[in-house]
């Protein structure tokens, strides 16, 4: 049986607070009308928020390495499939 270390509730609260702050940031940046950059900023901030949830709330940081490798393989595979399909749509009638 594998045991993970217990995480202090304060750590979870801190992660939640960061998520709220990042949400405020993404709304503020979207309101500044930065054109192309605002889409990039939105995706980067959403990626950061998602990573925080995965690492701390879903405990990936504390799991066996196997979990992170599996997620990486899944994400890379999905990205390849999505990018190839996206590129393919440019050549359709």
């Amino acid at each position: 049986m594998s045991t993970r270390p217990l995480v202090a509730s304060r750590a979870y609260l801190l992660v939640w607070l960061s998520l709220i702050v990042l949400t405020g940031m993404t709304i503020t940046i979207a309101g500044m009308h930065l054109g192309r950059w605002s889409a990039l900023a939105a995706v980067l901030i959403a990626g950061t928020k998602g990573t925080l949830v995965l690492l701390y709330f879903m405990h990936l940081k504390y799991e066996a390495r196997l979990f992170r490798i599996a997620l990486l393989v899944a994400l890379v595979t999905m990205t390849v499939i999505l990018l190839l399909t996206f590129a393919d749509t440019a050549y359709r009638g």
Binding site: S2, A30, F57, L66
Partner: protein, 208 residues
């Protein structure tokens, strides 16, 4: 004879395997939503202007508030796991209830938002949208499909959490670890639904 005694009175438990199994399922969920994100990307690259214009019909305040609700539900969820790991059954149940309650609040706000849009004639192939640029109709089609599929996942998550308080509740004499693993795997699903919303929010509410 092997010296490793197997106690057949205890149910077989494999917490790591249970969590990994849930992760494998979550990968399939990611692919499911990934397909819809791809659809969004393709149409946004074609109808960027229409998407920007159509998105101004959505209420940023409502979307932002719902984001806070769901993020907070993830906090109560992970605190429920923490309470179960420490054997605090009452606290765990209270936090699970809070998570279900926040999920319900999210759905109620979503329902209010949808009915307001439909009331204003903003639904796929409505007279209003057909009269506008084609990209606007597609934007609202994606909006309903993606937030709708997401809302179904919130409903499923609530049912799973409810099960953790009834049929999945801590059994007499059951080890703390078994109970915690059950809540944790349910929580993994709940958090993934939160992660998906984290990506949906900017795509629909922050592009006007």
């Amino acid at each position: 004879m092997s010296t490793a005694a197997v106690d057949h009175r205890q149910p077989h438990a494999d917490p790591l395997g249970a969590r990994f199994g849930m992760w494998l399922f979550l990968f399939t969920e990611m692919l499911l939503f990934g397909g819809l994100f791809l659809l969004y990307a393709v149409y946004r690259s074609r109808f960027g202007e229409d998407f920007h214009y159509a998105a101004s019909g959505l209420s940023l305040r409502t979307g932002a508030f719902n984001t806070l609700v769901l993020l907070t539900s993830s906090l109560t969820m992970v605190l429920a796991v923490g309470a179960a790991e420490r054997g605090r059954e009452r606290a765990a149940r209270g936090l699970l209830s809070a998570t279900i309650g926040l999920g319900l609040l999210f759905l109620l706000i979503k329902a209010g938002e949808w009915s307001a849009k439909i009331h204003h004639g903003l639904y796929p192939n409505s007279e209003e949208l057909v009269a506008h640029a084609p990209g606007e109709n597609i934007f609202y089609g994606l909006y309903y499909a993606m937030t709708g599929l997401h809302a179904l996942h919130v409903v499923a998550g609530m049912i799973v959490l409810l099960a953790m308080m009834t049929v999945g509740a801590r059994r007499r004499g059951e080890s703390r670890g078994l109970r915690a693993t059950r809540i944790e795997t349910a929580g993994l699903y709940w958090h993934l639904v939160d992660v998906i919303w984290i990506f949906l929010f900017p795509l629909f509410y922050l592009i006007s």
